[in-house]
């Protein structure tokens, strides 16, 4: 797993706003969970 590659990705959140993944863990630890499905 390449954290830097993941960090540079931008994904929409549940409001449609683009969020850069690396911004979440720049200053604090993040538990990143890949879900199989919503719910």
């Amino acid at each position: 797993m390449d954290v830097r590659q993941l960090a540079d990705l931008e994904l929409p959140d549940s409001t449609g706003a683009p969020r850069r993944l690396g911004d979440f863990w720049a200053e604090r630890p993040v538990i990143l969970v890949f879900l199989r499905h919503f719910g």
Partner: protein, 131 residues
């Protein structure tokens, strides 16, 4: 994870969930389940590929006893699937990352009922900075 979210937040950490589907499905999930953390949509699998999240063959998905038993337990516990998303054969995964681009923990699910131990995930969080 939701049940321990307050504890996670007190430790200075955040939870971010990534799923497949549409923004509409993600919004319904957040509203219906009162999810307190960010939920992102990875419908083209860019993030899943970068994170090396596993996929499983459809035959194994349908016939694996562990997956079937897990689905039965989830149904009995009252969980329901809102929307499977585009890649129903993509498995889950859990990582602890940061601060910075530091990977502290990873668990790549091996079947659909396999999940990271929450205790292991919490143990991977760095100790809070002293005041």
């Amino acid at each position: 994870m939701r049940g321990r979210y307050d504890e996670i937040a007190r430790r200075g950490a955040e939870v971010v969930a990534i799923g497949t589907g549409s923004v509409r499905h993600a919004a319904a999930f957040v509203a219906d389940e009162q999810v307190p953390f960010p939920v992102l949509v990875d419908d083209d699998a860019r993030a899943a590929k970068a994170a090396s999240v596993r996929r499983i063959g459809f035959f194994r998905l349908l016939t694996d006893r562990r997956s079937r038993a897990g689905a039965k337990r989830a149904r009995a516990a009252g969980h329901r699937t809102h929307k499977a998303g585009r890649r129903v054969n993509q498995l889950g995964a859990t990582f602890v990352i940061g601060p910075g681009d530091v990977l502290r923990y990873e668990h790549l699910d091996e079947h659909s009922a396999d999940h990271a131990s929450l205790e292991d995930v919490l143990a991977a969080l760095p100790a809070p900075a002293a005041d």
